[in-house]
């Protein structure tokens, strides 16, 4: 049970470029926060600074009332799950999970009990005597989880823990981690570059780019109300459509970019975007993604619920509602949409 407060964290590895630039985040008690961003955006560095594996150049990290600056990693009461699991190859599953407790002078019987409980929870009871080499990817992942769990830490840190798993296992583990975290109520920070992971798991997500926080919000809020052009483009699959403001009359003069989600483009509406020709259709069953271009050569993606009857080469007029348009200025910041 803990609240994590990062205030004004900066870190640079080479002079002149900031890996993490003035980041301030507050993670509430029991909250599941996802740090999302492209590779090299500083999200892993930020996580490693919380763990104490990197030291920030400036700024402060606090867990409840305790300031963590200068506290060695093992004394922070923080557990981390690594991307490649980082299991101790020479120890059994039991040994891996018991290691941290042994070093904290927990009585033997208590260690045994806690490891067995965690193993039960993670369905690892039959594998306690095995070495990590003898386990599958998903099992290793669960051992890494177990190793963090038995410590009963104040905060969980996840560094892309699912990226080494295959797609179906990833979906299962996504669900399991989320259920487990909710049941135990341990404050968690989860780093990922996968927006599906971030959107489905997180209570709130932090979108980062080039060391800076672009936006903090609930998944839906970030999706519906991107505060910057980067967030608009990074969140959402298929990617958001970027339009030339010249296509739409009546926009404010400082608007240099207009974005609209693929599902907001329709065959009727207030704003006429022009004639659209279909280049490619992806039928996904529950939805259909249509790729094509406007008569001026401007590429667009349209998402339609269910199955539809059009075919490649068909043309039709594309419309949208004015309130669905997202306007950005030259710096990429969101502008108020006067129509909404």
């Amino acid at each position: 049970m803990a609240t994590l407060i990062l205030s004004d964290i900066c870190k640079s590895f080479q002079a002149g470029s900031r890996a993490v630039d003035s980041v301030s985040i507050e993670v509430g008690d029991g909250e599941f926060l996802a740090l999302l961003g492209p590779s090299g955006c500083g999200k892993s560095t930020l996580l490693r600074m919380i763990a104490g594996l990197e030291v920030q150049d400036s700024g402060s990290i606090a867990l409840d009332q305790d300031v963590l600056d200068g506290v060695p990693p093992a004394k922070r009461d923080v557990a981390m799950v690594f991307q490649n699991y980082a299991l101790y190859p020479h120890m059994t599953v039991f040994g891996n999970m018991a290691y941290a407790l042994k070093n904290r002078k927990v009585p033997k019987e208590s260690i045994r009990q806690r490891v067995l409980e965690a193993a039960e929870l993670l369905r690892l009871t039959d594998y306690l005597d095995r070495k990590p080499m003898q386990l599958s990817g998903g099992q290793r992942q669960r051992v890494a989880m177990g190793r963090a769990l038995v410590r009963e830490p104040r905060i969980f840190l996840f560094d892309e823990p699912l990226s080494n798993l295959d797609a179906s296992l990833r979906a299962t583990m996504r669900l399991e981690i989320r259920q487990l975290q909710r049941r135990l109520g341990i404050t968690s920070v989860f780093v990922t570059h996968d927006q599906i992971e971030a959107m489905t798991m997180a209570d709130r997500l932090v979108v980062m780019n080039q060391g800076r926080v672009e936006q903090i919000g609930t998944p839906l809020d970030v999706y519906r109300n991107p505060q910057t052009s980067f967030v608009a483009g990074f969140i959402g699959s298929p990617a958001i459509n970027r339009l030339d403001p010249a296509l739409i009359p009546g926009l404010p003069s400082e608007c240099v970019e207009v974005c609209i989600r693929p599902e907001h483009l329709q065959e009727t509406g207030e704003v006429d975007l022009g004639l659209f020709t279909i280049d490619l259709i992806e039928e996904l069953g529950s939805e259909t993604i249509v790729y094509g271009a406007l008569s001026g050569g401007h590429a667009l993606t349209i998402r339609i619920e269910g199955v539809h009857t059009k075919s490649i080469g068909d043309t039709f007029n594309v419309y949208c509602e004015a309130k669905d348009l997202l306007l950005f200025d030259h710096a990429g910041a969101r502008l108020a949409n006067t129509a909404s």
Binding site: V78, A79, M80, F82, N84, A86, A100, N103, R147
Partner: protein
Amino acid sequence: MKRVHFGHSPIPYVFVLPQMLIIGVFFLWPSFEAFRLSFFLEDPWGLSNQFVWFDNYWDVISDENYRAVFFSTVIFSAVVALLSIILALLFAVKVDGLLRLSSTYRPFLTWSYAIAPAVAGLIARFLYSPQIGPLYDFLNQFSTDTWFEPRLDAMDAWLVLASGSIWKQISVNFVFLVAGLQAIPRNVLEASLLDNPNGFRRFWSITLPLLAPTLFFLLVINISYAVFETFGVIDTVYPFGPPSGAQTLVYKVYVDGFKGADLGGSSAQSVILMVIVLLLTVVQFRYIEKRVHYT
């Protein structure tokens, strides 16, 4: 299931031929010769010989001097092998932290690898020389009643030979240990950083077990170095032989065979030495290797 068969080509044999020739000429043939000679008594001029069954072996085993050299060799080899591994490990651990930050140092640190035992011996000879040796002067500063005199005193000679041999071998061990340390996954060490607040216990419980394959390999080659290759150091520091009591078995083989012209007895010693090393290697692989975890 149909298997794929490759036609047998003579080319692979041609490729391994040079190596086989080297092994044959420099190892198998001399070994066989030593084995054969150990059953003969040869006259000092090498003109005639006489088959004497196991007499040479009985002579060696019942020789009090041989037993003394045997025990001093055991101690010498154990000290040289262990100290050169432990000291190299100490240096490697210290350097490992730096290397993770920078790779510029790496080539410089491996230079000393190229020193031959004979060169190490020469350097030791200079360092401990009564005329110009700084270590000779340094050690004599501390002696009150007894003088440090490696040319006469067996114990002092032992110290010179052991330190020279260790000094030479540290660089070899160091290179392997640094490589071994660098091969330990970074994330595993980081995980232990979160799990264990005590740096020494972290090293003992995580780093050392993960380094075990390298350490085991080094143990095997260091023991064979300490037993055999230190001959180069001994012969360069003491061209006319060390004070008696600072000999090793290999040096005694050489002295008895080539200077004492007792080819049969020297060959018997060689065969005994071969058997000892063979047993030692078997013991290492059977009992120590079991505890090594290969990833």
